[in-house]
């Protein structure tokens, strides 16, 4: 896909460019796929679009097994899919995308795999903030949320650098949850609120749902409206429990994350639009 840079003088930009005609001669099939995708996005954009969507990117390892490649390759394809999905979401006008990249429970996996995942994470974070067309084109603020204390210091440095480089981007947010569990997030919110009570900033009687919510990692984000999990598993696996347990549509999709495509998203967004119009 070719990217054209637009001048920043025009009004807020969600650039979606029609695929360049030159692609037709080099790769006709991908040209027509791109055209179709472009048209689908244009159609969906006419209706209401959710503000905040979450993804559990499940099935990278099983996909690798299925196509007979190394586990690492599966994770790599998963990251590629993340960028592609992010691109589609942002073209649609979604403001916040939150993804489950690494669970605190995943530290229990074989050491080599965790190590490889962390290395891949580092490389991809650097790529996201330095070379990613999607991040640049849409002005995406990249945040890594979760229990930072469990990460190595060099990864923490890269996370801080990512935050710093993209902090002036205000058009959209990508939340990468790593290492994360929802219970750990709620615990950290409770701890934060208790600390405030201890320091006399608030009274115990002032403690409400809203105060707890303001202390979650997602406090700056609009409410989560759709949560999508791939690979056919039907659990939340400790992801965004607080954010998804009300006013949110949860969708379990029966394909591995690297196979996830706009065709899987289409019915979900169409149903969202139908529901919204009914209300």
């Amino acid at each position: 896909m070719t990217i054209t840079f637009e001048s920043h003088t025009s009004e807020p930009k969600r650039p979606t460019s029609f695929p360049q005609i030159s692609l037709l001669f080099t790769s006709p099939i991908s040209y027509f796929t791109s055209v179709l995708r472009y048209l689908l996005i244009q159609i969906l954009k006419q209706g209401p679009v959710p503000q905040h969507v979450g993804f559990v990117m499940d099935g990278n390892r099983r996909f690798a097994k299925k196509i007979n490649v190394q586990t690492g390759e599966g994770h790599y394809l998963g990251f590629k899919k993340l960028e592609e999905t992010l691109d589609i979401c942002l073209q649609l006008g979604i403001k916040v995308v939150t993804v489950y990249a690494f669970s605190i429970e995943n530290f229990k996996r074989p050491k080599e795999e965790v190590q490889a995942l962390m290395e891949l994470g580092k490389a991809k974070l650097i790529e996201l903030c330095e070379h990613s067309d999607v991040v640049r084109k849409f002005g995406v603020r990249v945040r890594v949320i979760g229990n930072e204390s469990l990460l190595s210091s060099d990864l923490r440095d890269i996370i801080n650098k990512t935050k710093e480089t993209t902090k002036d981007n205000y058009e959209a947010i990508l939340n990468i949850c790593c290492p994360y569990t929802s219970r750990d997030e709620i615990a950290s919110s409770i701890r934060g609120v208790v600390n405030k009570a201890q320091q006399g900033e608030i009274q115990i009687s002032d403690i409400t749902e809203n105060i707890l919510e303001d202390n979650l990692y997602t406090s700056e984000c609009p409410p989560l409206e759709i949560l999508i999990r791939t690979s056919g598993e039907i659990r939340l696996s400790d992801f965004l429990l607080w954010q998804s347990h009300q006013n949110c549509s949860i969708r379990f999709v029966d394909c591995y994350w690297p196979e996830f495509s706009i065709w899987d998203m289409l019915p979900i967004f169409l149903e969202y639009q139908q529901n919204r119009q009914r209300k």
Partner: protein, 199 residues
């Protein structure tokens, strides 16, 4: 497999919640060997009629298990009441849940942890997942293994979030009715999932 299962039943708004449905559900669950059945209704309407529900559940059980030698004891209660010996002996615990058992309960836990901290009995650093989970453990309502939705979409309507961590969420797309076939499919799906984990 289902013997150890705790089954959750979530009644969507589309379903008219009646004594009869709850009575039936309790009997299905008991005959499947389920130990704890939690029923979620956001507004808390069910929690106000515990006595009547108990009465209907007993009546339904006498009908349902008429041909069996002994009729199982099905005990209806709300979440946070002190347990008695009677509860422990029940074959099936039926717990009635509402919205306030979700975020509201987390607020209550936060308040009690805050007051413990202010009294100097607890360091705020010691407030972690385990400590919070402990604060929830004073009820029969622990993490359900499965949640059955009788609604066409998955909208959890405020179901207690802390306990949803690993719950298998079962729903049949398009289903709008309270139906035994949904319950049966859910149990079959649950049994299959567990088998795969064993591999």
């Amino acid at each position: 497999m289902a013997l150890k299962a705790r089954c959750e039943h979530n009644i969507g708004e589309q379903v008219e919640i009646g004594y009869r449905e709850i009575g039936k559900l309790a009997c299905w669950a008991a005959s499947a060997g389920i130990k704890v059945l939690s029923i979620y209704e956001p507004e808390g309407k069910l929690k106000r009629i515990v006595q009547q529900l108990q009465h209907h559940v007993d009546a339904e059980a006498r009908r349902f298990f008429a041909r069996e030698g002994n009729i199982p004891i099905l005990r209806v209660s709300v979440v946070y009441n002190s347990s008695s010996m009677e509860d422990i002996q029940a074959d099936l615990q039926i717990i009635l849940l509402s919205r306030s058992d979700g975020r509201g309960r987390i607020v209550e836990v936060t308040k009690s942890l805050a007051s413990e901290t202010l009294q100097g009995n607890l360091q705020s650093d010691a407030i972690d997942v385990e400590r919070i989970d402990q604060a929830f453990s004073d009820s029969h309502f622990t993490e359900p293994q499965q949640l059955i939705m009788f609604s066409p979409e998955i909208d959890l309507q405020g179901f207690p979030p802390w306990q949803l961590r690993l719950t298998e969420i079962f729903h049949v797309a398009g289903n709008k009715h309270f139906d035994y076939s949904v319950f049966r499919k859910a149990l079959i799906k649950y049994a299959k999932i567990d088998k795969r984990f064993g591999r």
